[in-house]
């Protein structure tokens, strides 16, 4: 297959961010080339596949039966002592789906292609081309050939292990302390009490600085996975295997249909996600919700903003960093600032030991703490409210509570 040497927009990475960006640029009549290093759009996934309904509906989409496999309307938190809190999030309109990413991503790519975007697969971007400091294209290794493609604007949607951002000098390696290590088994024949409920297990020995999740993909299929601190001495796999052994009764008749692994940015986004002729979107910019590690929603939202600003810049003939900066500013306003708040909550929650976690659950049981406050924590709010409840609860809790309001 041959491709034109010049494009309005080249997008590196055909994942959630890349497909969405491709659609939005193509809608604005830009010529768009999406380059992916894999021989297929989609697998392997580095993801628990949970996506909020609000992100699915972004841009007027509806959940589709081919990929929106299981609606989720409640969350169960399981404390280190085994006690459970079930939170019905549908009442506040917060629902989501566990999706089949492989199907979703191919359908999204198809939409981009019908809007006019072209896709180049099994092609590795090995460098960027610059002209007087501005990015003007990419070097690509494809079928054993070294090729060059030029563009007015380069969008780097190349994921957690993004190299394009580094080639363009926009960021460096992720600090080990600012990422989580994840492993997951997709399993069939798993007994699930309520398929509309996702389960999150916490504890120092369960998942240091993270959690184990059971995300139902149907009545008896689930993604069973774990995220742990990137700095932990043991592997995510070993923690997950141990947890599965401990819950052996439940999983005795289940078995594995897929294994996944990945590293999740749990940090603030990269400082600069625009440069002369280039924009970063999604995991490549480390746009991940720091409390639950979800990145698909942030990627979709950022891609739409990037395309709006980027298309305007291409049409005006100016894709300098200055012309692209409104993307950076807008994203920070609608999402970045919230993620920064959530990161502060995260740093606090990380310091909780099992005893303190168990205390929260006891207070919920005694009806002294509304479990919906945990949902608020997920948005970076509610620390002070929780602190006030703790202060009233007991002297021991009060001391711990004061550390919330620092």
């Amino acid at each position: 297959m041959t491709y034109a040497p010049e494009w309005d927009v080249i997008i590196v990475g055909g994942g959630p961010a890349g497909n969405k960006a491709a659609q939005e640029f193509a809608k604005k009549k830009m010529s768009v080339l999406v380059i992916d290093r894999k021989a297929q759009i989609g697998p392997p996934k580095r993801c628990g596949e949970g996506l909020s309904t609000r992100w699915i509906k972004l841009g007027g989409q509806e959940p589709h039966p081919r990929w929106a496999l299981q609606e989720i309307t409640s969350t169960m938190l399981i404390a280190p002592n085994g006690k459970k809190i079930k939170i019905d999030t549908s009442k506040t309109g917060q629902t989501g789906y566990i999706i089949e990413r492989s199907q979703w991503e191919k359908m999204e790519a198809g939409r981009a292609i019908r809007l006019g975007a072209k896709y180049m697969l099994k092609a590795l971007v090995t460098g960027v081309i610059k002209d007087g400091g501005r990015v003007t294209g990419v070097k690509v290794s494809r079928e054993g050939n070294e090729e060059e493609y030029r563009c007015k604007l380069l969008i780097a949607c190349d994921g957690v292990d993004s190299m394009v951002g580094r080639y363009a000098g926009l960021h460096t390696a992720m600090p080990l302390t600012e990422c989580d290590s994840g492993y997951q088994y997709e399993m069939a024949n798993v007994p699930i009490d309520d398929p509309k409920c996702m389960e999150l297990y916490f504890g120092k020995d369960v998942a240091p600085r993270g959690y184990v999740w059971v995300f139902p993909k149907g009545k008896d299929v689930a993604n069973v996975g774990i995220g742990i601190a990137g700095t932990d001495g043991e592997t995510a796999k070993s923690y997950l295997d141990r947890w599965l052994e401990k819950h052996g009764d439940r999983f005795s008749k289940a078995s594995v249909t897929e294994i996944n692994a990945g590293v999740i940015p749990i940090t603030k986004p990269v400082d600069e996600f625009v440069g002369d002729g280039i924009m970063l979107v999604g995991d490549s910019a480390r746009m991940v919700n720091p409390i639950h590690g979800g990145g698909m929603g942030a990627a979709l939202e950022a891609a739409a903003i990037a395309a709006k600003v980027g298309a305007r810049a291409v049409k005006a003939g100016d894709t300098s960093k200055k012309a692209l900066k409104p993307y950076h500013d807008k994203w920070n306003k609608v999402r970045g600032e919230e993620f920064a708040r959530i990161l502060r909550v995260r740093h606090f929650v990380e310091k909780l030991d099992d005893e303190q976690f168990n205390l929260f659950v006891d207070l919920v049981e005694q009806k002294k703490l509304d479990p919906r406050l945990f949902v608020e924590l997920g948005h970076g709010r509610g620390l002070v409210d929780i602190a006030k409840i703790l202060v009233k609860a007991s002297p021991a809790a009060a001391k711990f509570a004061m550390s919330f309001i620092k």
Binding site: A39, T235, V263
Partner: protein, 59 residues
């Protein structure tokens, strides 16, 4: 000694690439490559790998 990949454990997830400070690791479609001349034995890759598939043998 530079980082070594155990290919029977490697999940091709790219996590190691994301934390390598010197770009000594590269993930192409199905294989992780180690540039042994660039590797500085920092051990970030070994610590973060979810599957324990990459190890640095410190001098």
């Amino acid at each position: 000694m530079p980082a070594e990949v155990n290919r029977s454990k490697c999940m091709i997830c790219g996590g190691c690439v994301s934390v390598c400070p010197v770009q000594a690791l590269e993930l192409r479609e199905n294989v992780l490559y180690v540039d042994t001349k660039k590797c500085i034995d920092c051990g970030n890759c070994e610590k973060v790998c979810p599957a324990g598939a990459i190890k640095v043998v410190k001098k």
